[in-house]
Point group: C2
Chain length 157, copies 2
């Protein structure tokens, strides 16, 4: 995966969470995914494809992190557990972050179309991409817990 | 979701599993997904999009079902548990079934591009689509267990 594909996801994730959820976000250095473990308890998956590149993005939150983000987004008290509204919010955030990355990637002349986000709720999941291209992991921290963005974009044959 | 979008997934799933894994497959009547539960322990998710329609397909196997399918595909003894080869096979099957559906859908003048499959391993998951269009579930049975194909295709605004 080309290095210039990473920054659009990093910028979009930071921008969307800080804007939509008034939540300060710090990122660590992006790294290559070396196993199938994904830390989060609520995860959004979205496919993206353009004429020359195909891929997918994963957005995975710890429970505490997403409960606080959703409380800020909806201006409501922090829920005790993940419910349908929280799952829906993860779908929305997945769409928005991938949409933000898509806008940045269009500056590299890549006109992506986004597929429908799919949300997965559950602990102790293993999530992996069916691609020979390595997956990039961008770890983020907030005051109330962590989330990650994973991206895999590969040139079509 | 239009009724004529369902059959391409049904035909492709039956055809791919019967051909690739020499496994006899029966399907039950397709139904609307009414909750977020997805029965399988190994699941493939793939996004698909074309000029006018966007969506995703989920393919989810019980453990016993996929272990027997993979044994037939690789002509090897049945494994005791899900390992990296099994997860890879689910990615491949997700690609092939969605590719088969894509070929059928092209007869309706829909030229889909497929994204990268993402595989999820874990029990007691909840999987849902971020879409106001209902998700169609097609239940399949084999001699060694069940699998489902879920599809959600919606017209773009």
């Amino acid at each position: 995966m080309k290095v210039e594909y990473i920054n659009p996801f990093l910028k979009a994730a930071k921008n969307v969470i800080e804007t939509m959820a008034q939540t300060k976000v710090k990122h660590a250095k992006p790294l290559l995914k070396t196993d199938a473990k994904t830390s989060g308890e609520v995860t959004g998956v979205i496919g993206m494809t353009c004429a020359t590149v195909t891929g997918a993005m994963v957005l995975s939150f710890s429970e505490s992190c997403i409960l606080h983000i959703v409380a800020n987004m909806l201006m409501e008290p922090v829920r005790e557990k993940v419910d349908a509204d929280v799952v829906d919010a993860v779908g929305e955030l997945t769409n928005m972050i991938c949409g933000g990355a898509k806008a940045e990637l269009s500056k590299l002349d890549l006109k992506f179309e986004l597929a429908t986000p799919t949300m997965v709720v559950g602990k102790d999941l293993e999530i992996s991409m069916f691609s020979k291209t390595p997956t990039i992991v961008i770890p983020f921290t907030t005051e109330h817990g962590d989330f990650v963005v994973e991206a895999n974009l590969r040139e079509k044959n």
